[in-house]
């Protein structure tokens, strides 16, 4: 399920089955900067992967809107804000929290995060080779889904 009107009702009916929060983390930068292309590619990729994971596990995972931050931020501050988010989003049914990011800065601050960080390297994808890119992204989503399942199994 995701942050959409149609899913609110579904959630109400099935909340005891939905025990996992999923939040993608997305860095943005000045569109004129030299690194903007990288961040733009990541924006597309994170969208596709998150959606695909939501599709696999729609009855158990709740996908919240992407948390967006500026890449020149103070990550320690962002970690605090995220933990605050989680504090307020979590209810008695949610037992697992996952973040998805390509940004290594989160990896460095992982221990302070109140949830599991799924950090993967960003695939270099090109809009013109959409078919191939989708295959790669769906494969990554599949692997991440399997990883999430092992967390469920071990809890």
């Amino acid at each position: 399920m995701e942050w959409k009107q149609k899913d609110r009702e579904r959630y109400q009916e099935a909340k005891e089955y939905v025990d996992t929060i999923f939040i993608p983390l997305l860095g943005i930068d000045d569109i004129a900067s030299n690194q903007a292309q990288d961040w733009l590619e990541q924006a597309d990729a994170i969208q596709v992967i998150s959606k695909e994971i939501e599709r696999h596990y729609t009855g158990r995972v709740f996908l919240y809107p992407t948390y967006t931050y500026h890449v020149k931020c103070d990550y320690q501050l962002e970690v605090n804000r995220l933990n605050n988010w989680i504090e307020n989003l979590k209810n008695e049914h949610f037992k697992h929290v996952f973040f998805l990011s390509f940004d290594p800065q989160w990896k460095l601050n992982e221990k302070d995060l109140n949830g599991q960080l799924l950090w993967i390297t960003a695939p270099s994808i090109n809009e013109r080779e959409k078919e191939d890119a989708l295959k790669v992204l769906h494969h990554q989503a599949k692997l991440l889904s399997d990883l999430i399942r092992t967390y469920w199994k071990n809890s």
Binding site: Y17, Y57, T58, R60
Partner: protein, 169 residues
């Protein structure tokens, strides 16, 4: 104005015009009613667009997963949505295309997803299971069989349409 130059009498003229106008009015009332009555016949089939998904000679008796994408309008936002199907040939050589969407809460089920139950579909979310023909295993969370895709074979290519619940065939 002599009678000979007027083959249409006043009475005939009024008759013709009244019949004409009355006819139009009656047609105006009847046409929508007739259209309404035969509407189901004119309805375009709700089969939706069929999508080429696989080549028939790729299919085996073992379920294989095929993915394709469709454009979906969600409220006012149009997006590309990935769809999947588990397709296999039954023992009678018929094509079976099962929707992978679990009837419990909509997760995607996998063929042989649980090592403890080979020869079954398995839902990783809440351990729902289905037999190979898509019927739910009793005492697991789902309470209905997997939906079945409408399918069509044209020149060796398998096309799939909408997934429909059992009993609507």
């Amino acid at each position: 104005m002599s009678g000979k130059k007027q083959p249409v009498s006043r009475r005939q003229f009024l008759n013709y015009t009244l019949t004409g106008v009355g006819g139009f009015m009656a047609a105006g009332m009847l046409a929508p009613m007739v259209r309404f009555a035969i509407d189901p016949v004119l309805q375009a089939s709700s089969g939706g667009d069929l999508k080429a998904v696989a080549q028939v000679d790729e299919l085996t008796t073992e379920p294989q997963r095929f993915d394709w994408t469709i454009d979906q309008v969600d409220a006012w936002y149009e997006s590309e949505v990935t769809k999947s199907a588990w397709v296999y040939k039954t023992d009678n050589d018929e094509i079976m295309a099962l929707s992978p969407v679990c009837k419990h809460l909509g997760c995607v089920v996998n063929w042989q997803g649980d090592p403890d139950h080979p020869e079954q579909f398995f839902c990783p979310c809440h351990d729902g299971r289905y037999y190979k023909d898509g019927v739910n295993v009793p005492n697991t969370p789902p309470n209905a069989a997997l939906d079945v895709f409408e399918h069509e074979v044209r020149e060796g290519t398998l096309y799939l349409g909408n997934a429909k619940p059992r009993g609507e065939f």
